[in-house]
């Protein structure tokens, strides 16, 4: 099977907004219940029409951002793997057996800022899920041998991912753009650190002790469940979890003062890829800068933009183009990626991108355009709320950014306030030459 995508851009747009929003009303159409246990663990829950099904997320506000020690990049992701290695009560085989018998879909993922463990299963299994999940978050136990074996799986994951030049160029873009901040490395981590992972058993214990603490986590439950029972079970299974005390001191990057340029080659067949990064703001529920970057992403790079029309549809110089900045807790990177059909057009395409970004600095966007974008964001959000797992995933994203999933409603309110002047102001501030990092990748031997 080969599946085409109508607009590749759609896959890169950060999750935003909601349908049916009136001025002043909340964008998320469901009620979010919140309970905080004495140890600081938050339980967020949303009743959702998925009869007999519940989505259960445990979100740890720790990702590759927290990998502050040199030589230990990729550890948050590695640790996510170790969380499946069992406890004294439920060793890994028993844990898997329980999941198998309940017919659950169970997995985890790690990002720059957080790690999420998720289960989709029958509502009747809620207590069992809470039992096995709370147990591993409080009592994880694995041998050094298991730890070293799992390091092999990480290397395998690196190998599968890095057969794509997109991973290589993405890694290089971040490594070059950031000087000190941990966003310098991807969630996967640098290869040299992955190769050294088997030697870091002791650090793994420290990592668990630091971050897998109730005040740094939330449980998110969406679907068909009884709220009263959920709260009772939360006290029963998570009540004894002890708070931690570690404080993260992140090295922040000074403002970039000079454009950075890197050229890469790829040994196998590939079309040229161009990646451009601009340092941008952090996620905020009070400042308009980050939501403005989201609008700029749509104005300049959406399939309706003049740039897209010129490069993809009319001149057909590139296979696709997309540009956006994902939400992040610390100042992130607005990243532009495009695959160019002919190496001789790399400079031409690059200059077209610069020119489109220059244009929005001085030419106010029309009200009609703004209205169209807001409509897109509204429906894009609404259409994403089509199953319990997707809703839980969305709540997780907004919880980890601020500690409160209600932040999505606040961000929507900010979108409503953005003016054409804001867009020009933010574009002038961030889309400058000295704030830019450019990485190109071409097939080896390309002239």
């Amino acid at each position: 099977m080969f599946r085409f995508t109508f607009a590749i851009l759609l896959f890169f747009v950060p999750l935003l907004l909601v349908a049916r929003s009136e001025e002043g009303s909340k964008i998320f159409p469901y009620q979010i219940n919140q309970v905080t246990l004495d140890n600081g663990l938050k339980i967020f829950s949303v009743p959702f029409p998925s009869p007999g099904i519940v989505a259960y997320y445990t979100v740890v506000r720790t990702g590759s951002r927290n990998e502050i020690e040199p030589g230990l990049s990729g550890f948050a992701h590695f640790f996510e793997h170790m969380m499946f290695r069992g406890t004294e009560k439920y060793d890994k085989d028993k844990y898997n057996e329980i999941l198998k018998l309940m017919g659950a879909d169970n997995n985890a993922f790690t990002t720059d800022d957080y790690t999420a463990y998720h289960t989709l299963a029958s509502s009747a299994e809620l207590e069992t899920i809470m039992d096995i999940e709370s147990d591993r978050f409080m009592n994880l136990k694995y041998s050094e041998e298991d730890f070293k074996t799992e390091a092999g799986a990480i290397l395998g994951e690196y190998n599968k991912s890095f057969s794509s030049p997109f991973m290589t160029i993405y890694e290089k873009l971040r490594e070059t753009a950031y000087e000190k901040h941990t966003y310098k490395h991807t969630t996967m981590g640098f290869l040299k650190d992955i190769l050294d992972m088997p030697n870091q058993y002791e650090y793994s214990l420290k990592f668990f002790d630091r971050w897998y603490r109730p005040e740094n986590c939330a449980v998110i439950v969406v679907g068909d469940f009884d709220q009263k029972k959920l709260v009772e079970l939360a006290h029963k299974y998570y009540g004894n979890w002890k708070r931690g005390s570690f404080t993260l001191n992140l090295p922040l990057d000074p403002p970039q003062k000079k454009e950075k340029i890197v050229n890469l080659t790829w040994k196998a067949k590939t079309l040229p890829i161009l990646a451009i990064g601009y340092h941008g703001p952090a996620f905020s529920t009070t400042e308009v800068e980050m939501p403005t970057m989201d609008l700029i992403s749509q104005i300049v790079f959406a399939p309706t933009s003049p740039l897209y029309n010129k490069l993809v549809v009319e001149k057909q110089l590139v296979e696709f183009i997309e540009g956006s900045q994902g939400d992040s807790r610390d100042p992130g990177l607005f990243m532009i990626f495009t695959r160019i059909k002919d190496p001789k057009n790399i400079s031409l395409v690059r200059d077209e991108i610069y020119s489109a970004l220059e244009e929005i600095k001085n030419k106010p966007v029309t009200d009609e355009k703004l209205s169209t974008i807001k409509s897109y964001l509204k429906y894009n959000f609404a259409m994403g709320l089509n199953n319990a797992d997707a809703v839980a995933s969305k709540l997780s994203h907004y919880y980890q950014l601020t500690g409160d999933p209600e932040s999505m409603n606040k961000v929507y309110a900010l979108y409503e306030k953005i003016t054409p002047d804001d867009i020009m102001k933010v574009a002038k501030k961030y889309f400058t030459k000295e704030n830019r990092t450019v990485v190109t990748l071409v097939e080896e031997g390309t002239k």
Binding site: M1, G52, E144, A153, G156, K160, Y379
Partner: protein, 500 residues
Amino acid sequence: MKTLKILLIAFLFAGIIMTNINCAKGPEISELYQADSPLITFRVELKAGSINDPKGKEGLNALTSLTIGQGGTKDLTYQEVLDKLYPWAASINPQVDKEVSVFVGEVHKDNLDGFYQIFSDLLLHPRFDESDFNRSKDLLLNHLKNTLRGTDDENLGKQALNFFMFENHPYRTTEVGTVQGLQSITLDDVKEYYKRVYTKDNLKFGIAGGYPKSLLDRIKEDFGKLPSGKLAEITLTEPAPIQKMEILFVEKPARGTAISMGFPIKLTRQNKDYYALMLANSYFGEHRTFNGVLMNRLRGDRGLNYGTYSYIEHWVQDGHLRFQLPHTPRRHQYFSIWIRPVQPENAHFAIRNTMFELKKLVEDGLTEEQFEATRKFLINYSKLWVQTSSRRLGYQMDSEFYGSKFFIDEIEKELKALKLADVNNAIKKYLNAENIKVAVVANDAASLKEAMFNNAPSPIKYSSPVSQKILDEDKIIEVFPLDINKEKSKLVKVEELFEK
């Protein structure tokens, strides 16, 4: 053992009505009505796929599909279509396979009227602009020449296995054809193919969500205007029998070694044995779970790679979900094992380890306990596959293709009736550990070929010690004999694949 709680996912889609309307006037319509759903899904299925590509024009079906699905209408250019769809966040995705091609559309019901107009116009009155054609052709050619050959080793391995397994069979080419086939296609070829193949007799319209019933009449009316004519069914020849282990080594620059292996099986969802083999396969290699033997032995015990899984039919993951992408039905299916990239020095061992486990499965089958646990798992797990109306509609239309009852319901019914002996008999009947084709994508394929041809010992290299039990088993696996058919095995440069 923990007591299993009874799963009560009684009516995931309470209030849904599944129907199939056969009407003399318009195309067949597959309905999944859900009054409360604001999301409307269209799935228009064309009963034509890459097997319908004319000789020398391999890729014509895919290129026509893409030129239509990502093109303009009689009234709107492609860019104007994009401009219209954007504020609705609506999508239209063509997907092509061997036997069917599908156009999937999704929209919020607020925008249904406008969306239907564009969606139907794309299919009924495609613009066929030269520029849409050129853009689509470039995309497909680059997919073969650059993406598959240079930047996606896992899918390269799968496509290489397909090519190798179905060498003299209509399934031989990729779903998007071949490089030379695509290069030879003109816009006139596409127009002619559209005229000949996109008839009301070859199309089926699927619809899900809270749509107004009046829309059905409009669909029948509009699509009823398409010309009549049914494509003659392509006869599927039997794939050539496999003699011992036949290996296709694909040489290209690569960090890890990607491996896919398998053989055709005479089994589809139409057969009762399907469900018995489905259970055996879930036990052996359920996709991306730690239930599977392969996942536990190769990754869990040895850290060889990210995962190893097995399948009893063509299987593509649906985006980020770990479930199968629906709506890719095929009359001929195959059993396959996907070994995700391993370190090159462990490739030979990984193949041996996999064959060692396959042999055990074939010889020993499942125990009563393994059978019961897997049955419980599958009955519950399969209910999670239809969490969205689009996926449910896809499975519904698959069932119609196979002429069977709704697949998800059948799983529960058939699994509940199964006995252990049914499963172990199905394993013996359909699987084997001798005659199998293997595709290996490797940086130094020549050295691996030599080592495998010589049946050289292949001790696994660990970065850290493992238990004595595993080391003892490794001693058996590292010399596990692979009966390789050297005459039928070959080494090719990646550039040679998908050329014609």
